[in-house]
């Protein structure tokens, strides 16, 4: 069966979506990803969609769902590498993916996650001290 690989990069998980998403694949991905966030105690998830030329409302909702699930498990989600045409289509469809953080590429996404983790840790220290 088709699977989307999940790579561990330090404290983060990297998911690169390169195939057409469909219901079952999305469910499998959600299941595996939430499992991996817990077992690897990941602090962040990077979802790379740079090779997707078509993103419809289904994928939009899936991304929102994953971000929500990850947040519950205390991991930040960043969607990276969206194509300009995809961004325009999503906005025209009225799906501006509120609540999902975005970055230009994996590199930038990683920086964003690191920065937010540092900020979070500092906040915790502040509270503790």
């Amino acid at each position: 069966m088709e699977r989307i690989p999940i790579l561990k990069l330090g404290q983060f998980l990297l998911v690169t979506i390169q195939v057409d998403m469909h219901d079952r694949l999305a469910l499998v991905l959600q299941e595996e990803l939430t499992g991996r966030i817990v077992t690897d105690s990941a602090r962040g998830v990077l979802i790379d969609i740079s090779s997707l030329d078509i993103v419809d409302s289904f994928i939009g909702r899936m991304l929102s769902n994953i971000a929500g699930m990850a947040r519950v498990l205390d991991a930040e989600t960043v969607v990276v590498g969206m194509q300009p045409s995809v961004a325009i289509t999503l906005v025209e469809l009225g799906l501006s993916l509120p609540g999902i953080r975005t970055a230009l590429n994996v590199d930038r996404g990683m920086e964003l996650l690191k920065a937010s983790i540092i900020a979070e840790d500092e906040a915790r220290h502040g509270q503790a001290g």
Partner: protein, 281 residues
């Protein structure tokens, strides 16, 4: 009774041509410097030649037929030429209509003893020339429309530059009204520039946008949302006092978009967000 129009035009070709030529010079008057005499003569000659060809077909009521194809070419050429030379619609239409008195004179001579025949011929030829005149106008209109479309496209290309203010900070100075078509292009240009320059900040400057209504605001918000999806944060700058008032009176919600009064403030904010500062040395 069959129409003798074809015969008359053929017999009196030279006289028609010279009379019409005089007529044209009078009509053109002050516009004469735009077209040379020989040019007019060639056009008139072509017209009469094409008219004979069309009349030979025997169908005067339908100028869409194959026998009128050379006539259509002559008129289309003339009309296009005049539209680009800046002739008014009336001046262009007068080319065909000025043939009427010339032709009627000849008809009057030929039908001196047959008033009923004369009336019949005048009716037929008026109808024919009117159709040709309308065709000329149609082509004229189309040519003008093509010019307008081309200018619109040129304006679109001219008016949406994306400039890089700093590494990773883009500015998009918008000038002119934002409609759907333009928003699309603006959005595309901005997003492509975001990818090409690896930018994470974009300043949309609307100093040059004359009015902001609900639609324009919606277009702006769409652009901001699309840029955000690509990982670039947007700041809207250049909001004039009147526009701030309009936005609030209209109840437009600019949501969480950061807005600044001028480009300099927006740039300062962008630098600060990137943890950069400009210092005096």
């Amino acid at each position: 009774m069959p129409s003798r129009l074809a015969q008359i035009v053929e017999d009196k070709e030279d006289s028609l041509l010279s009379k019409w030529m005089t007529m044209q010079s009078q009509i053109l008057g002050s516009l004469k410097d735009r077209v040379s005499n020989s040019e007019i003569r060639t056009t008139l000659h072509d017209f009469i030649l094409a008219l004979r060809q069309g009349l030979a077909g025997g169908r005067f009521r339908n100028v869409d037929g194959a026998e009128w194809s050379s006539m259509r070419d002559v008129l289309a050429n003339l009309s296009r030429q005049r539209a680009t030379q800046g002739f008014t619609p009336a001046e262009t239409a007068m080319f065909v209509f000025s043939f009427k008195p010339v032709l009627f004179d000849e008809l009057r001579e030929s039908y001196a003893k047959d008033p009923a025949g004369l009336a019949e011929e005048i009716l037929v030829s008026t109808e024919l020339l009117d159709k040709l005149g309308l065709f000329t106008m149609e082509v004229y209109q189309k040519t003008r429309e093509a010019v307008i479309v081309r200018q619109q496209q040129e304006m679109l290309e001219l008016s949406t530059p994306v400039v890089e203010l700093w590494t990773g900070i883009l500015a998009l100075p918008l000038i002119g009204t934002l409609d759907s078509a333009r928003t699309q292009i603006v959005m595309q240009n901005l997003l492509e520039a975001v990818v090409a320059r690896g930018a994470d900040m974009a300043i949309i400057d609307i100093t040059g946008v004359p009015t902001v209504d609900t639609l324009v605001a919606q277009h702006l918000l769409k652009t901001v949302a699309a840029a955000r999806l690509m990982g670039a944060e947007c700041i809207i700058s250049g909001i004039r006092p009147q526009i701030a008032q309009t936005i609030i009176h209209l109840g437009v919600d600019l949501g969480s978009v950061v807005t600044k009064a001028n480009l300099a403030d927006a740039f300062r904010l962008a630098l600060r967000k990137k943890c950069l500062a400009v210092a005096a040395i």
